[in-house]
Symmetry: C2
C-alpha cells in the first residue's frame, strides 16, 4: 500500500459518512416525525463531529505529503483532499464551534424577525455572524481578500473580481431588458386550479423524460424542492400548489438537472472526491439548462402543452404559442426564488454586491437595509414594500453562507455557454424537444460535462464542455433573443 492508497481508503469512508449525513438531511425534510427534531439535532452534530475529526486527522496531512500521484485522476483526488484538509486546519476549533452555535441561533432569530417584519430584531445577531465569518475568512485568506477565501467553499478557483466583471456586464443588459418588457404587452396568465395528484404524476413523467433514474433515486414531496445524494442514490423532492402547476413542474426539472449530474458521474469515481458535482456554480448550470434553456424552450413547452391538455383538459390557454408566453411570463415581484429568467439574476447580483461589500468592511450591517432597498428600486423600478420582501427574504446570511449567492448566477452564465455549444453540436435539437425527447441534449451534457464529476476545476469543466472561455455574453444573447420574441420587442 502506498501513501496514496492509504489516503484513498481513508477518504472512501469519509465520503460514505458524508453521504449518510446528507441522507439524514433528506430524511429530516421528507420522512422524520415532527417530534424528533431535537434528537435529530444531536444525531447530526454527532456525525458532523466524526466528519470534522476526519478532515483534521493528522494522518491525512502525512499521506498528503508522501503521496505521489501517477496520473491526472490521482492529481485531482489529491487537490480535493488537500483543499479540505487545509481549510479545516486553518480555522481554529473554538472559532468553528462558535460559528456553528451562533448561526444555529441566528437562523431562528431570522425566521422570527421575518415573520414579525422586524429588521431591528435581526441585525444584532447578523452583526455577530458577519464578525465571526470575517474572522474565519481572515484565517482562511492569508494575504487574499476575505470574500475570495469564502468563495472557495462553493466555487473553487473563482474570485470576487472575476465574478464582478461578469456580473457588472450582465446587470445593465438585464435591467434594460426588464424595463423594455415592462412596457410591452404581457402574455396570458395561467388561471384556474390543477389537481395536485395529477401534477405529481406529470412531474414524474417530466423527471423520466429528462433522464432521471428512479432505479437510483426517488421523488417525494417537501416544503422546499431539493436534490440530495450522490452516485447510486440521488433523491429529489418537489411540491404542489393547485394554482401553480408550473412551480411543481419546473421545480422538478430543476432538481432533476442537479440529480442527473450526480447520477451521470463516472462509476469509477463513486465514493471518491471526484464522485460529486464539482462546484455549486457548475451544479446550478445543470439545473438551469434543464429547467430553462431546455424546459422553457418553445419546442419543449409545445410538447408540455399537449401533456397538460391530456392531464387537465382545456385549461384556458388556446394553443402552444400562447402557452410558451404563459410559461415565460415576466411578473413583477420581490422574491428571488419566484423570479423568471430575466429578473432572477438581478436579485442575485444585488446580494452579491452587498455581501462582498460587507465582507470587505465597505458596508456596515446597520446600513444594509437601506443599501438593499435603494439597489432594488434602481434595478427593478419599484420600492420594497416590507422587509420580508427585502433584506429578510433569504435564510443564507443568517446561517453564514457568504459567497453562496453568486453561484446561482454563475450557474446561469455557465448554462448560457453550454447551451450555445449544445445548439451548435445538435442543430436539430428542437425537433427532438418538440416530441418530448431530451436525449440528444442530456446525452451531450452527460458526455461533455456530467461524467467527469470533480476531475477538472469548475471553470475548466465548463471550458472543456462548451469550448469557450466562460462569459455572460451567450446568456445575454439568449435572453434577448428569447424575450424579444415573446414580448415582440
Amino acid at each position: 500500500m502506498t501513501a496514496f492508497d492509504d489516503l484513498m481508503t481513508f477518504q472512501r469512508d469519509t465520503e460514505a459518512l458524508r453521504l449518510i449525513s446528507w441522507r439524514l438531511g433528506w430524511d429530516q425534510e421528507t420522512m422524520m416525525p415532527k417530534g424528533a427534531a431535537e434528537q435529530r439535532g444531536e444525531e447530526m452534530a454527532a456525525i458532523e463531529g466524526v466528519l470534522h475529526a476526519r478532515r483534521l486527522d493528522p494522518r491525512v496531512g502525512d499521506w498528503l505529503e508522501q503521496a505521489e500521484p501517477q496520473d491526472e485522476v490521482q492529481t485531482s483526488h489529491l487537490r480535493h483532499i488537500r483543499r479540505d484538509f487545509d481549510r479545516a486546519s486553518k480555522v481554529p476549533a473554538d472559532l468553528a464551534a462558535t460559528i456553528a452555535r451562533i448561526t444555529s441561533t441566528a437562523q431562528g432569530k431570522w425566521a422570527q424577525a421575518r415573520s414579525d417584519e422586524d429588521v431591528a430584531a435581526f441585525l444584532p445577531v447578523l452583526q455577530e455572524v458577519v464578525d465571526l465569518k470575517r474572522q474565519e475568512g481572515a484565517a482562511l485568506a492569508g494575504n487574499d481578500a476575505i470574500y475570495d477565501a469564502m468563495l472557495q467553499d462553493y466555487e473553487p478557483g473563482t474570485t470576487g473580481a472575476q465574478l464582478a466583471a461578469m456580473f457588472d456586464a450582465l446587470r445593465p443588459e438585464l435591467s434594460d431588458l426588464r424595463a423594455a418588457i415592462r412596457e410591452a404587452e404581457a402574455p396570458a396568465k395561467l388561471k384556474g386550479t390543477f389537481d395536485e395528484t395529477k401534477q405529481l404524476v406529470l412531474s414524474e413523467v417530466l423527471a423520466l423524460t429528462f433522464g432521471y433514474s428512479l432505479h437510483n433515486g426517488r421523488i417525494d414531496k417537501a416544503v422546499h424542492p431539493f436534490s440530495s445524494g450522490s452516485g447510486h442514490d440521488v433523491r429529489i423532492t418537489t411540491r404542489t400548489n393547485p394554482q401553480d402547476p408550473f412551480n411543481c413542474f419546473y421545480s422538478t426539472i430543476h432538481e432533476v438537472g442537479h440529480a442527473c449530474y450526480e447520477q451521470s458521474i463516472d462509476d469509477a469515481y463513486l465514493l471518491t472526491p471526484l464522485g460529486r458535482g464539482v462546484s455549486m456554480g457548475v451544479h446550478e448550470s445543470q439545473s438551469r439548462i434543464y429547467e430553462n434553456q431546455l424546459g422553457r424552450s418553445r419546442a419543449f413547452t409545445g410538447w408540455l402543452y399537449g401533456q397538460m391538455r391530456d392531464a387537465f383538459g382545456d385549461f384556458g390557454i388556446p394553443d402552444e404559442e400562447v402557452f410558451y408566453g404563459t410559461v415565460n411570463r415576466v411578473n413583477e415581484g420581490f422574491i428571488r426564488t419566484e423570479a423568471d429568467e430575466v429578473q432572477y439574476n438581478l436579485h442575485v447580483l444585488l446580494r452579491f454586491d452587498l455581501e462582498r461589500a460587507l465582507m470587505a468592511g465597505d458596508l456596515q450591517v446597520d446600513d444594509l437595509e437601506s443599501a438593499w432597498n435603494d439597489r432594488f428600486e434602481a434595478d427593478f423600478g419599484y420600492p420594497i414594500d416590507k422587509p420580508s420582501n427585502g433584506i429578510l427574504q433569504d435564510v443564507h446570511w443568517s446561517v453564514g453562507l457568504f459567497g453562496y449567492f453568486p453561484t446561482y448566477s454563475l450557474g446561469n452564465v455557465y448554462a448560457g455557454c453550454l447551451h450555445a455549444a449544445l445548439r451548435k453540436a445538435v442543430p436539430d435539437l428542437d425537433t427532438h424537444l418538440a416530441q418530448g425527447d431530451t436525449k440528444p441534449a442530456t446525452t451531450w451534457l452527460r458526455e461533455n460535462l456530467q461524467q467527469h464529476g470533480g476531475l477538472y476545476e469548475p471553470r475548466e469543466t465548463i471550458q472543456r464542455a462548451s469550448g469557450m472561455e466562460p462569459s455572460e455574453a451567450p446568456l445575454v444573447a439568449y435572453l434577448k433573443d428569447k424575450f424579444s420574441g415573446i414580448y415582440r420587442l
Copy 2:
C-alpha cells in the same frame, strides 16, 4: 468534568451514531432505491467502522477505571458501557473482520440454498460460521460456556442452563396442549379478500389504540414488519395480504409493543445506554403482551370484530365469539413466524436446543438436519416435507446469530408473568379492552417496566414489574385456560 462526565459525553455521540446506523437500516427496508444496495453496503460499513472504533477507544477504558458512580443510575450506565467495552476488547480484530465477511457471504448462500431446497449447498458455509462463532465465543467466555457468552449479546445475565430449565418445563405442556387441540373441533377459518388500503387504515387505528405516538414515529410498508429507533423517533413497518388481514393487524400491534417500549423510556435517558430496551427478551415481552395477551384476548377481539365489520362489512364470521376462535385458530404448519401462541414456542425451543448443542460441540453441523427433522416430528406430530420448511427456514444461523432464538420464547414467558400481575393490578381490564381502551394496560406497563429502559438488568426488570421470580408457569396457565375455552378441551 469528572471521568464519568467525560465518558458520558463521549457515549452520547456513540448513541447518536448508533441511532443513525439504525435509521439507515430502516431506510434500506422502506425508502432506498433498488439500485443503491451496493453503495449502501459501503455506507453501512463506514458507520459500523466508526462505531467499532469508538467501542474500542482506549479512552473509554481509562474513563471506566477512573469513574466513580454517585447513584444507581450512574452505576447502571457504567455497567452497560463496561460490558460493551469488554466485549469489543476480547474479540481479536481479525476474527471480528472474518466473521463479518463470512456471514455476509453465508447469508447469500443460505438464501440460494433455501430457494433451491439444497441443504448440502449450505452446510459447508454454515460449518465455517459455526467454527468462527465458537472461536469468538471462546474468546468471550473465558472459563464459562461458549453459549452462555453468546447469550450476553441478547440477554445479559441469563445462562443456557437457566433457560433450559424453563423451556424443559414448558415444552411438554405445549406439546400436550397442541396434541389435545389437534383432536378437537377447530374454530371457523377466515375467508375472502380484504381491501389492503382499508387494512392499512385500520392498522393505524390499532397502533394509536395501543398508544403508539405518530408525533414520534411513522408507519410504512415493508416486506418484513419491524420496529426501529429509540427515543423521539421510533418507526414501525407493517405489511398487507388481501387474504390475511390478521397478519397486518397483529404484525402492527406486535411492532407497536416494541415501539411503545422505546417511546416510553424516561426522557432523562435519551442518548444514553439506558435509553433503549434492556434486552431482546424484555423487548419481546412487550411486543407479545400487546399482540397476544391483550390483542388476541376475548375482550379486545370483540371490539376488533366491530371495527372490521365497519371497515369490511359482513365478512362471513357471524359474531364476536366465533371471531375470537378465528383469530386464535391453531393451524398445522412448519413456519415459526406464522405460528400461533401454542405452537410458536415449540418452534423456538427446537432451535434453542439444537444451537446450544452445536455451540457446545455436542452436535455436528452434518447431523443438524436429521436432528431438526426428528425433533420436529416428535413435537408436532408430522414430518418436515422440505428443507425450506425445516433447517433452511430462518436466516439467523447463517448470519451467526446464535443465542438470539431463545429470547423469543423468553419474551413469551416474561409476557406471561407480566400479564398475571397486570390482571391482578387492573381487575376490570376486560371492560376497557372490550371498548378498545388499552390504556389501563399500557399505562401499567409503561409505569412498571417501560419507563426504566436499561436501568435494571433484564431479569430484575421483569421481577420488579411482575412482583415474581420469572417462570414459565403463568404462561402455561394462561395458554391452557385460553385454549381450553376456545377448543372446549
